[in-house]
């Protein structure tokens, strides 16, 4: 015979669980650090290998043209018999280094404009905000086309286009952070003690925004690379013999209907992986910089 105790125990074991706690792993700083190091090294290696492969990528072998992927040519060959793997790696290197360069310039511009807005008085602030509004008021790609055209297309055109259009988002963050910092007691004290705007910017404002700035900079990289690829794809970039990833893809477009799938699928997938790597790198860095906060 069941005792009341047994009944109670039986019931409690059948009692509905209202909230089942899930086990969630906290973001691991060690894993983030490992990710940053691994991806950083991998991307550096890619740049180095790409630089070495650049001459190989130009070699044409008309005996081996339009080959599908095989062991000898993992990415196949194109209509001139060039090895697509080395072309892809060389193209990625070019695209990535161009993107990195342009993103650095854009970030520098946003830092300078943030300082000007924060310290240059209301007129300068209004000018910077106005510039941000105008740049963001045009579709990004239209502006990219315009600027790259203004600088004569080519390498310089693409780099300038990305540098001059990519800054507003980061500039907005930098500006608002700096405005916050400008109102703090130590900046007010420094100003009262007679420090000029340049000195205040260098000693107080820039160090204050530095973590945010670095994270924003790294998160600009994927954007910059995608935009570089888009511009070269549209034909605003480099001459066709230079293997940039966008021009490789726009060239392969002509061979789509002949069934040469590897010319489009594999270089594009490599580009996506590269962008994804930069993106994960940036996000891990952001988590490290904000001490596990959400960003």
């Amino acid at each position: 015979m069941a005792t009341p105790y047994d009944v109670a125990r039986e019931r409690s074991s059948r009692a509905p669980v209202i909230v089942a706690p899930h086990a969630h792993a906290l973001p691991s700083r060690r894993a983030d650090l490992a990710r940053v190091l691994a991806l950083g090294t991998a991307l550096m290696l890619l740049l180095a290998v790409g630089a070495v492969l650049a001459p190989v990528a130009q070699e044409a072998d008309f005996l081996a043209k339009n080959l599908p992927p095989s062991l000898a040519h993992p990415f196949g060959t194109d209509w001139m018999g060039r090895d697509m793997l080395s072309r892809t790696v060389a193209g990625l290197t070019l695209s990535a280094s161009l993107g990195l360069l342009a993103a650095l310039a854009a970030a520098g511009l946003s830092l300078v404009l943030g300082c000007v807005a924060a310290l240059g008085g209301p007129a300068a602030d209004a000018f910077v905000s106005g510039a941000i509004d105008v740049v963001m008021g045009l579709p990004h790609l239209v502006l990219l086309i315009l600027v790259s055209f203004a600088f004569g297309k080519g390498f310089v055109g693409v780099a300038m286009a990305i540098a001059l259009t990519e800054w507003p988002r980061l500039a907005r963050v930098v500006r608002s952070e700096m405005l916050q910092c400008r109102g703090s007691d130590y900046v007010l004290a420094a100003r009262r003690l007679g420090q000029g705007p340049v000195r205040v910017a260098a000693r107080h404002l820039v160090p204050y925004v530095l973590p945010q700035f670095v994270v924003g900079l790294v998160l600009l990289f994927p954007h910059a690379i995608i935009h570089e690829a888009s511009l070269t794809f549209l034909g605003f970039g480099l001459p066709p013999e230079v293997p940039a990833i966008g021009s490789i893809l726009s060239e392969s477009m002509a061979y789509l209907s002949t069934g040469a799938w590897w010319l489009v699928a594999l270089p594009g997938a490599a580009l996506v992986l590269c962008v994804l790597a930069f993106d994960i790198l940036g996000r891990s860095l952001a988590r490290l910089a904000t001490r596990g906060g959400a960003l």
Partner: protein, 377 residues
């Protein structure tokens, strides 16, 4: 939003609605002026020789002096920046956007023709990506940290890393070339008179580009909505609903939806420019005769008037998106209106000096800024 137009100065007697519209109209005019000037300035800076860019290097070198001079006059070589811009502006005041040199037609006509094709593509992609992104975001947010969430989030992150033109190329390769379900390009069947083209043909040609563009635009709004849903689920309202015994979908339908829909709507309105950028690339892949393709042609062929026209039209499109977001905010969220009124009362009241610049006339664009890597082109 600071194109610094001192417009807060209107007296209290003018109704708010009127002031709001007047202010935005003025802003739009300033935007058109600035954007068009920037276009002309950039074109003036360009070292690209328009004659050579359009007739090719060999032809340029072999042509006679007189022919060359004639072509240079046609493309406006050697005209000063202010002269050119002044002429364009004067024409604009008379409703004339100039003549496209590449298409040899009035710019307004070129844009009107192309905008028709682009409009269908853009609006389908805009609405489709908004709806699909919203639904995915809600599903991911409600299933926070479970597999649907992981799946959707992973997919969205992957989508932000995929260039739209590559997605379009792959779609073209799989569905048009390999499977043959869709045509390979253009907006209408080749070799058919315009009058004979049926709606089914148009829809058939539109489908694949529209699907690509929709998929490209999904990620930002899905990720943003997901964040907002998670925020709602962690809040007090959701707790109270749980205590009352409401299930997740009931609670979302009754309380979550209207809190989450507004930021998504704002974000989607602000993303018009991104969708247009994607359309430029997708139209190029599908040889779709839209505005984006015209922009690329104009850029590659130094067609200043067409470039300026497209830049002005698209910037007005972006402006219109943001303006719609502003208006919708007031219409959809009654709290906004009362906040505006309160701020105005405070501004005009005795404590006016204590109130900071009333930001409320410019509705906070929380959407676009928070998303971080929102845009993909």
């Amino acid at each position: 939003m600071g194109v610094a137009i001192g417009c807060d100065c209107g007296s209290a007697r003018i109704p708010f609605v009127f002031r709001f519209f007047a202010k935005n109209l003025l802003k739009a005019c300033v935007l058109v002026l600035v954007v068009s000037f920037v276009v002309f300035l950039l074109v003036d800076l360009s070292p690209v020789d328009p004659v050579q860019a359009n007739v090719g290097q060999a032809a340029t070198l072999s042509m006679s002096e007189a022919k060359r001079a004639q072509l240079e006059a046609y493309w406006g070589v050697g005209e000063s920046l202010l002269e050119r811009y002044g002429r364009w502006l004067w024409g604009l005041l008379h409703g004339d956007l100039g003549t496209s040199l590449r298409y040899d037609e009035p710019v307004a006509q070129v844009i009107a023709e192309r905008a028709g094709a682009s409009f269908a593509l853009l609006s389908i992609a805009w609405a489709g990506s908004g709806l699909l992104g919203f639904v995915l975001g809600v599903v991911a947010g409600m299933a926070h940290r479970r597999w649907p969430d992981r799946l959707i989030r992973g997919w969205c992150f992957a989508m932000t890393s995929i260039p739209s033109f590559w997605l379009a190329l792959i779609a073209l390769m799989v569905f048009a070339v390999a499977l043959g379900w869709f045509p390979i390009g253009f907006a209408t069947p080749v070799g058919l008179a315009q009058a004979d083209v049926s709606w089914a043909d148009v829809a058939h040609h539109l489908a694949l580009p529209a699907i690509c563009l929709t998929l490209v635009g999904v990620a930002p709004v899905a990720l943003h909505t997901r964040e907002k849903v998670i925020e709602f689920e962690a809040g007090e309202v959701a707790d109270f609903c749980r205590l009352r015994g409401e299930g997740p979908w009931q609670r979302f339908w009754r309380h979550g939806l209207r809190n989450v829909a507004l930021p998504a709507l704002t974000l989607q309105c602000a993303s018009v420019g991104e969708i247009f950028g994607g359309a430029v690339l997708v139209e190029e892949v599908f040889s779709y005769p839209g505005l984006g393709q015209a922009a690329v042609t104009a850029g590659l062929g130094s067609d200043v008037c067409l470039l300026a026209g497209i830049a002005v039209v698209t910037s007005l499109l972006v402006f219109g998106g943001n303006f719609a977001a502003d208006v919708l905010y007031g219409v959809v969220d009654p709290r906004m209106r009362s906040a505006r009124e309160a701020a105005r009362a405070a501004k005009e009241g005795p404590l006016a000096s204590l109130v900071d610049r009333p930001e409320d006339y410019d509705v906070p664009r929380s959407g676009a800024e928070e998303v971080g890597r929102g845009d993909t082109i």
